[in-house]
């Protein structure tokens, strides 16, 4: 697994959701801005470099989803799902989704994180997906 992939998530969850992988985001000590992924270049909001790791809970709500019919230009060999998710911590991100065949995803669907065996080159032994909490 590359250093970059390591920085995105961890298999352990947060105190609020211990059984689902946590996302490794960041927070600004000066203005409180929460972001994902963690970075140390400087706060996008106020420019401060007083940034610290903030683990984000692997739970959120689906904002939108799309089934990618043509994976041209991506590392995927076949069609796949992606989604926009707002985590319970307030971060908004996009992720590949793992959903059951024939699933109909609607905005507002509760989503959780899950680790899966690597399906993209150079992303380590495991990669992170969001999936419907009810699955």
């Amino acid at each position: 697994m590359t250093e970059e992939a390591l920085a995105l998530f961890q298999s352990e969850g947060t105190d609020q959701l211990p059984d689902n992988p946590a996302l490794i985001g960041g927070g600004c000590d000066d203005c409180g801005y929460v972001f994902f992924p963690m970075q140390r270049y400087g706060c996008e909001k106020c420019g401060s470099t007083a940034l610290r790791v903030k683990k984000l809970t692997g739970r959120g709500t689906l904002i939108a989803s799309a089934f990618v019919h043509m994976p041209v230009g991506t590392p995927h060999e076949g069609p796949f799902w992606v989604g926009s998710i707002q985590t319970d911590d307030g971060a908004i991100l996009r992720s590949i989704l793992q959903v059951s065949e024939g699933a109909v995803l609607k905005p507002g669907t509760p989503m959780i994180t899950k680790l899966v065996p690597e399906t993209r080159p150079n992303h380590g032994a495991q990669d992170l997906r969001f999936m419907p909490a009810a699955d």
Binding site: E4, A5, A7, L8, Y33, V34, F35, P37, Q39, Y41, C43, E44, K45, I63, A64, S65, A66, F67, V68, H69, M70, G73, T74, P75, H76, F80, V82, G83, S84, Q86, G90, A91, I92, L93, R94, S95, I96, K106, P107, R120, L128
Partner: protein
């Protein structure tokens, strides 16, 4: 105190020119650009010697492509500035050319956009930051996600969204400079899904081409004896970049901010606009940006589209050139081509796609980053 373009001396578009947008070909970028520049010079009635400065927009040609092209117009020794600002490169060139004329530094300035794609991938240096799905969410999927969000928010259907492409393909069919010049039915547009409900004909074709405008001051117009009756004023120019925030749709938020500036500078209301050329690289973009501009209330674009409000001859002609969906998006030329189209419309020279008695138009582009530009043109 900082000045606006509208506080400085007036700037006019006096010449426009194109090399038709097209699929990749053997034509060199030099020929693409020179064709557009020569047409613009002829349209303005000025010679190359009269042009005091040039802004060259391109995003796909590598470093400093301007001089190897412009040298074939003759020996001038005048300044050349290259501008790369992603999809908004051409719009940025127009803005900086406009600033040079408005400030009084020059009386006659060229803005030319030229591009051709010689390799499939676009190089962007790594920021060193990882992302969960950066290699899986290409632009058409980004906009498929925004389409899904819009459809659920406003209770419209994917077929409703595709009507934007039907309209723009019909407009492009009347434009000899458009890459796509074929009328399409809703069934044709809905075929060939790419991502979500986005289909091939709801994605802009990235091709090649050239577009040029000559900008001039009143002093320049008088000194060179140009036809003031065909000159179109750039009434405002506004630009900005994305603000921090966990916003999934920064282009639309940014568009709303920049449009407020551009429209206020021009001292008009959004509903006064009669011509609108927006960054409709994907069908959902047209309605997101048009609503952000304020030509209708959020969620009202589709019902008004069905009533013909955004057709040529309707309340406001949106993307009369065919827009990025049909005219095409060769990148460097695109924003300059929008200004060319609006100039043609406000002159009353748009032929079969003329929107009658148009006096006010707005050109809008966003670029990856995100950056946003808007220019209001008035006759």
């Amino acid at each position: 105190m900082a000045k606006l373009i509208s506080d400085l001396r007036p700037v006019y578009v006096v010449g426009i020119g194109f090399h038709p947008y097209q699929r990749s070909s053997e034509t060199s970028y030099v020929q693409l650009g020179l064709t557009a520049v020569r047409e613009a010079l002829a349209d303005a009635g000025v010679s190359w010697e009269d042009v005091e400065s040039s802004y060259v927009a391109h995003a796909l040609l590598g470093m400093a492509a301007g001089r190897p092209m412009l040298r074939h117009l003759g020996d001038s020794g005048r300044p050349i500035v290259h501008i790369e600002n992603a999809s908004a490169s051409g719009s940025a060139a127009v803005r900086h050319a406009c600033m040079e004329v408005a400030s009084g530094i020059s009386d006659v300035v060229l803005a030319v956009g030229v591009d051709k794609r010689e390799r499939p991938e676009v190089y962007r240096a790594s920021t060193g930051l990882p992302d969960l799905a950066e290699d899986s969410i290409l632009p058409f999927t980004h906009f498929a996600l925004l389409t899904d969000e819009y459809v659920h928010k406003y209770g419209v259907t994917p077929e409703d969204m595709a009507l934007v492409a039907v309209k723009n393909h019909a407009n492009g069919a009347k434009n000899i400079n458009a890459q796509r010049q074929k009328v399409r039915t809703i069934e044709e547009v809905m075929s060939r899904p790419i991502s979500g409900s986005i289909t091939a004909l709801q994605c802009t074709p990235i091709g090649e081409g050239g577009a040029a405008v000559i900008l001039a001051s009143e002093e320049g117009i008088k000194r060179l004896g140009l036809d003031m009756g065909r000159a179109v004023r750039i009434a405002s120019s506004a630009a900005g970049s994305e603000r921090a925030g966990n916003n999934l749709n920064p282009d639309t938020a940014l568009t709303a901010d920049i449009m407020r500036l551009a429209i206020a500078q021009a001292q008009i209301a959004a509903t006064d606009l009669e011509i609108l050329e927006v960054h409709d690289a994907f069908s959902v973009e047209e309605l997101l940006y048009a609503e952000a501009i304020g030509i209708c209330k959020p969620g009202h674009y589709v019902p008004m589209l069905k009533e013909g409000a955004w057709n040529i001859g309707g309340h406001c002609a949106v993307s009369p050139s065919g827009g990025l969906l049909a005219m095409g998006h060769p990148v460097g030329p695109t924003g300059i081509g929008q200004v060319g189209e609006i100039t043609r419309q406000l002159r009353g020279e748009a032929g079969a796609r003329q929107h009658k008695n148009a006096k006010t138009g707005l050109a809008h582009m966003v670029g990856v980053g995100a950056v946003c530009y808007a220019h209001v043109l008035m006759k």
